[in-house]
Amino acid sequence: MISFILIVNKQSQTRFSKYSHPCTIQHQQRSDFELGLSRECIQREGHQNYIFNYHGVGIAHRRYASLYFILGFADENPFAMLELIQFCVECLEEQVDRVSELDILFNLDKVHVIMDEIILNGMLVESNRKRAAPQMT
């Protein structure tokens, strides 16, 4: 299952985070964990692997312009997770037109709703881009 989704910027500031249950990362330790993990991801250069193991959690991450999308998972196919990030980004793009740090900040509630449409408590719900768009009013 997918343990968490993080979107961070180049300064390792968390812009979006969602954890699912049961989660091994305690609430109090999350900001430290996010900081360490995002630094690790940002430091990994282009030639390195996008899939690795961080403190026992499987990590897949991809970079889109100045944003890093990080997915933590256990017991899942790593390639499928890597592509899930791309899929999420494509879905976000449809709704918020350009996925940039500002767009995410100003549409945080929307981003949450869209992500909830795709991943519900750590499990993929919908893999059809058209249908993952939530009914917005």
Binding site: F52, S127, N128, R129
Partner: protein, 939 residues
């Protein structure tokens, strides 16, 4: 949707370049919101806006401790946008144990029942995110209804499936998953791929817990793959970069791996056909990276499935070729997963040949730029090692060890040590490699590694001389390496005499070599070396004076351990005769063979960090062993987790151990202190003949007639017992009280359990009994057949006050314990039955003399019969001093047996005539024996 206030606020925060400014702005806003909330009278829009601001602050990492009530109010709103923000706030700010969750349960229930499906979805989201026990209990049925109802829209169904999954994960007891099996499995056929994906995910979780009930999902998963891959029957929206719904394919392929390979050849062919299609599809050159990744996701999962099904199949051969291409791919991700999957293949395949072809590439991967790839390369090399390539691989690993990442070294050392031991063909090679390993790895060598070296050298005589010589050479080198000194000290102390006659290895030279490093070592190592020295005194009297100088020096050091050793060794060495010294320094006995501590350590490491896998790094046998041990663990967990239900008796006379001893033997223990006889069935046979500890009888006999009391007592230990019996079942509680002022260590108990009488200890007894305290052990007893022998109880412990102790006593479990008295039977029916049973062989009669000096006491006879659970029937026998009794013995599988008894005491001659009639010969005789003994001695 737009909220100007919020946008301004976010822009403000973004403009704060320093953390302090941000904090100031946040505090200002919080104060503002607080006062607004306090004033009340906010309309929906305002509430929504403020809650949104709070959420934003929360996401930035600030603690939010108010606003929950407003969020709850928003949920109840009729406007979608407000409801939605309310739910978002609830899912983010609430957690399942918060008291406030109670407030939203009702709103959620209302929304689940609403006609508006979008509201249903919001409610499902909330449950999926914060559902705790209360929600599970109240709402599980509603969620189930939404899942299976034919009127539910697909976007509700798919969410209901995953919401159900959450509730099941959290509180499996609340979800009647097995009852729903058919309905839920049927949903896997849904044409809508979104629903199919969610339901498959749910079924995967159910199937792992209830494989039997959910086995129908196997065929469904197969059909789904067939529809996607062969019939190409799917909605076109679900094609992701030319790959149709890769996530669903991956899920189905994974689900198939949770079940053992199918027996049915037709099914196997079908799967093979599908796998072949996937492999063929992967031959297209991908157009872009997304296509490539999606394709690989499916392909790797398919390869894993192929390995799971049959690692020698045609498909696997093809897979090996593909993997060979992958591990030299330019793309890091592909290399990484290629290596991982190849390690899976190596772990399962009979033949490593296809993998060995790529040995060069794999060794190269140890020098990859990416550490994760290096790690995978190491795992694979470890898995693919066998006798033919072990020398190459191990020397490569040794070479790489010197430049390896620090985080990797300890694990590498363990792996090298294991491989060296496993594939050693020549003793000298083993010693060379392992000492080279210790000398290169230095601080990264864990204790286990050198313990193991010592064990192996001690157990293999041919190794000893060579090991001593090599170790001495290492000690002479100027390099300082503490682990090497420990190994050296131990080996020379034990086997130094074997090389004493070679040139350059004379006793004094050995001593100098060791002692030159002495002052550099840690206190612990120095203590070990002092022991080496005292062994030297024994082996080489000629260097006694040099050694004594050292002892003398250390008699005055501050460290108490060193000082004590020095003083004691000094005393032993200077005794008038050498007898004591020789006894103390007797050669170490060989270590008992057991699982290598190294492998245990390695498995622990993997258990710590790796996710749950179906296979482990290592060769085929490692996986076989693991599967066996998992099975064993599963069954032991079963018997532990269900203390009230009784497991079926084992076919052979088995022994219920308290489980602790089993675990203990898995711990590295160099001294071999724990008793191995516990785990070997042979010894159990032997020890059942051993003699019970004297003094056990009084308690044993007394408690045959009583439910509780003291079973046994000696100077150190008191054993109390409480019991209750119903029908053929019984429960015993044993209380072990430590009477001494010292702690009882390694406290273990072991209780005989036979087919006829199973004794199960649901929880092991504590391993340690503190001074003047007691521990408890519960036993569940089940009578399956009529039995004669009472189960034995073996106790062993060590303590400073007593030294090692063993006790063997009998538990007061006799056949009459499973008897229920019959009180209401009149004379007619008694004699009618008495006659029905008739005489021998179903009657057992005896005439015997009372052992009591003072004559027969009617009162105590009555007590005895009562204690043995006979119902005494008065006014049946015309002679009032005669006893008539009845009862039913519950023999479990052997059925119930009615027992009738007549006892005629002869007061003048101090004699009894005892007659027992039952429908079973064995029971008659056994009851007669029990009563005869008791009446003779106890009355």
């Amino acid at each position: 949707m737009s909220m100007r206030g919020l946008t301004v606020f976010i822009a403000d925060i973004r403009n704060c370049r320093v953390r302090e400014l941000e904090e100031k702005r946040i505090n200002k806003e919080m104060a503002n919101i607080r006062s607004k909330f306090k004033e009340g009278n906010l309309n929906g829009y305002q509430k929504k806006k403020y809650v949104c601001k709070l959420l934003y602050m929360y996401i930035l990492g600030w603690d939010i401790d108010f606003g929950h009530m407003e969020a709850v109010n928003l949920i109840a709103s009729t406007k979608y946008s407000e409801k939605q923000i309310g739910y978002l706030a609830v899912t983010l700010l609430f957690h399942e144990n918060s008291d406030l969750v109670r407030l939203v349960v009702n709103s959620i229930k209302k929304d689940l029942d609403d006609m508006n499906e979008i509201y249903n979805c919001l409610a499902l989201h909330a449950i999926a995110n914060i559902g705790g026990r209360e929600m599970a209990e109240t709402l599980a049925l509603d969620v189930h209804r939404l899942l299976i109802s034919p009127t539910s829209r697909s976007f509700v169904q798919k969410k209901a499936a995953l919401t159900m999954l959450r509730l099941f994960r959290k509180h499996p007891d609340v979800i009647p998953a097995t009852d729903w099996a058919d309905r839920v499995i049927a949903l896997m056929d849904e044409y809508d791929l979104g629903v199919a994906l969610s339901v498959t995910t749910l079924v995967m979780a159910f199937a792992q817990t209830f494989p039997e009930e959910y086995k129908g999902c196997y065929v469904k998963a197969l059909q789904r793959l067939k529809r996607i891959l062969i019939d190409r029957d799917f909605s076109l929206d679900y094609i992701y970069y030319k790959v149709p719904t890769p996530w669903l394919q991956v899920k189905c392929l994974r689900l198939l791996q949770y079940y053992p390979p199918p027996e049915d050849a037709a099914v196997r062919n079908e799967i093979n056909e599908l796998l072949q299609v996937i492999v063929n599809n992967s031959q297209d050159t991908p157009k872009n990276v997304q296509h490539n990744n999606a394709q690989n996701a499916v392909l790797f999962e398919a390869i894993n499935l192929a390995i799971h099904l049959d690692s020698n199949s045609q498909i696997c051969m093809q897979a090996a070729v593909l993997l060979g291409r992958f591990i030299s791919s330019k793309e890091t991700n592909v290399r990484y997963l290629g290596l991982e999957t190849m390690a899976h293949l190596a772990a399962c395949a009979d033949s490593l040949e296809p993998i060995k072809k790529h040995q060069e590439t794999i060794i190269m991967s140890l020098r990859d730029k990416d550490i994760s790839v290096r790690r995978r390369g190491l795992d694979l090399l470890y898995s693919m090692c066998d006798t033919s390539n072990s020398k190459v691989i191990i020397s490569e690993l040794l070479r790489y060890l010197q430049i390896a990442d620090y985080t990797l070294r300890e694990e590498m050392v363990l792996k090298i040590a294991i491989l060296t031991e496993k594939f050693a063909t020549a003793y000298s090679w083993y010693v060379d490699i392992i000492l080279q390993l210790i000398s290169t790895a230095g601080d990264h060598v864990g204790e286990e590694v050198w313990f193991r070296v010592v064990q192996i050298v001690t157990n293999n005589e041919d190794l000893q001389e060579y090991a001593a010589k090599t170790v001495l050479n290492y000690l002479r080198s100027p390099q300082y390496n503490e682990t090497m000194i420990k190994v050296g000290g131990y080996i020379l102390g034990e086997f130094g005499h074997l090389i004493a006659n070679s040139s350059g290895c004379s006793p004094i030279e050995q001593f100098t070599a060791v002692h030159s490093k002495f002052s550099l070592c840690s206190l612990q190592t120095r203590a070990l070396l002092l022991t080496t020295y005292v062994k030297f005194v024994n082996l080489f009297p000629e260097i006694k004076s040099q050694v004594l100088t050292v002892f003398n020096q250390y008699r005055h050091v501050l460290d108490s351990e060193l000082q004590q050793r020095a003083c004691e060794y000094m005393a032993i060495s200077t005794l008038p005769t050498d007898d004591m010294l020789q006894t103390v320094c007797e050669e170490m006995p060989p270590f008992p063979e057991r699982e290598s501590t190294l492998v245990i350590k390695l498995n622990q490491k993997q258990g710590d960090t790796e996710d749950k896998r179906v296979w482990v790094i290592g060769g085929k046998e490692a996986n076989l062993e693991r599967r066996e041990s998992m099975k064993a663990r599963m069954s032991s967990i079963d018997s532990i987790s269900t203390p009230t239900s009784f497991t079926a008796p084992e076919p052979r006379p088995a022994t219920t151990t308290n489980g602790n001893s089993h675990m203990m033997s898995a711990e590295p223990d160099l001294l071999g202190l724990d008793d191995l006889s516990i785990s070997t069935p042979n010894n159990v046979q032997l020890s059942s003949n051993d003699v019970p500890t004297p003094g056990f009888e009084p308690g044993y006999h007394k408690l045959q007639r009583a439910a509780e009391g003291v079973l046994f007592e000696d100077m150190h230990l008191q054993i109390g017992l409480k019991s209750e019996y119903h029908g053929h079942l019984g429960r015993l509680a044993l209380y072990f009280g430590n009477k001494t002022g010292a702690t009882l260590q390694n406290f273990t108990t072991q209780i005989d359990s036979t087919e006829a009488l199973t004794v199960i200890s649901p929880t092991p007894v504590a391993n340690v009994v503190e001074a003047r305290s007691q521990v408890q052990q519960l036993l569940n007893i089940e009578c399956n057949e009529f039995f004669r022998e009472s189960p034995g109880l073996r106790i062993s412990y060590t303590s400073q006050a007593t030294g090692p102790q063993r006790l063997f006593i009998k538990l007061p479990v006799v056949l009459t314990k499973f008897m229920e008295p019959i009180q209401s039977m009149d004379g007619n029916s008694f004699f009618q039955r008495w006659k029905q049973i008739g005489g021998a062989p179903r009657e057992s009669q005896v005439v015997f003399k009372s052992g009591s000096q003072s004559g027969i006491s009617i009162e105590s006879v009555r007590n005895i019969l009562d204690g043995y659970r006979f119902g005494l029937l008065d006014d049946v026998d015309p002679n009032p001093s005669n006893f008539v009794g009845a009862g039913v013995v519950h023999g479990g599988k052997a059925g119930k047996v009615g027992a009738l008894l007549r006892l005629e005491p002869n007061m003048e001659q101090h004699m009894y005539r005892l007659t027992v009639r039952t429908t079973s010969e064995i029971v008659s005789e056994e009851l007669r024996i029990i009563l005869e003994r008791s009446l003779t001695y106890d009355a």
